[in-house]
Symmetry: C2
Subunit: 205 residues, 2 copies
């Protein structure tokens, strides 16, 4: 075992991989430490509980994904172009995961929502905050597109939530069928949900 | 413990409740038997394994839900009216669950997809068959609506998959926020994804 800070990173890394592979419930602290290559005693030095570790994994994953989303959704490109890029990068990321690990791992937040949200309130609140953030980021882009007359939706918040829900639902199917190429429908569906007619054309009135 | 057939039903019922509450991984055979009020020894008389029990719970749930879907989607009502009823009954069912148990339990198949599909191939295949069935049932209605000129989608299969994905994604959010009333958006989104303009109006060309 290296420096203490290394051990913490190793535990986080091992927990991340194991949660992606099998979810949260099936994990044990002993297995996490064995995978991380750190003594079991060190676990509780860094994390109060398995739940605290799960929250740290979730936070780390959202920090990474949030910066990706910000790069895409807050760029200077036209609003619908940004939405299209989000759909395409989501597909590309799941495809890359499928090619490197053999399985589509899906969305960690969606996975944990369906596995854990009824059981630990701390995790549920964190996941709610993450999806609130996602919806707010998407809504900002939809609002811009709306001001440009490119989409016809009347409730931008509701539309953003529907785009995020469609994304989660399609990623769920990609995971179930282990087929990321099904995500090709995301952009077409996004346009439909926003009341836009085609990638670069303002929607008909 | 009553007759053997009662014990099997009791085990199935207990497993169903516990899976809805906490998912599959967190369950143990001892707890299932205790909840069911049957001796642990009887479990393996009826089920080869915990996985075999999960498959039986899934099959029983789909048999129930499938008959609901068939009643709605294969009725004599107009096709879009049937789609609307599916959205509204989905919302009503989650709302009833929320009112009776205090929590939105979501969709068992979606929950198990995200929790288990990477781990047990038998469960993954069963869940794939169920979603294939769901998509086929929805596609039959979309095809009818398409023949009547009420929807504009070109690929009815893809459209049916998108409707099912939106349904799973929205139910995921309802579960996360423990708020079934968010499902009110299902019908509007369904119309958007099908390229229809309003509940009873044929879509503009």
């Amino acid at each position: 075992m290296g420096r203490k800070s290394d051990a913490r990173e190793k535990i986080l890394g091992a927990a991340h991989s194991l949660i992606e592979l099998r979810g949260y419930s099936a994990l044990g602290v002993a297995e996490i430490c064995e995978t991380a290559g750190v003594p079991k005693g060190s676990f509780y030095y860094f994390f109060e509980s398995k739940e605290a570790l799960a929250l740290a994994v979730i936070d780390e994953q959202w920090a990474l994904q949030r910066s990706d989303w910000a790069r895409i959704l807050e760029s200077d490109a036209q609003p619908l172009q940004r939405m299209r890029q989000l759909c395409e990068e989501t597909e590309a990321e799941q495809l890359a995961g499928q090619q490197s690990c053999g399985t589509v791992s899906g969305c960690m937040f969606g996975n944990l929502t369906l596995e854990m949200s009824n059981r630990t309130e701390a995790v549920r609140r964190r996941l709610q905050q993450i999806f609130d953030d996602q919806v707010a980021m998407v809504e900002a882009v939809i609002t811009e597109a709306h001001e440009r007359g490119e989409v016809t939706v009347s409730d931008t918040r509701e539309a953003a939530r529907s785009v995020a829900a469609q994304l989660e639902g399609q990623v769920l199917f990609a995971k179930l069928y282990n087929n990321a190429s099904q995500l090709g429908a995301l952009w077409t569906n996004c346009l439909a949900l926003l009341g836009a007619r085609s990638p670069h054309m303002p929607a008909a009135a």
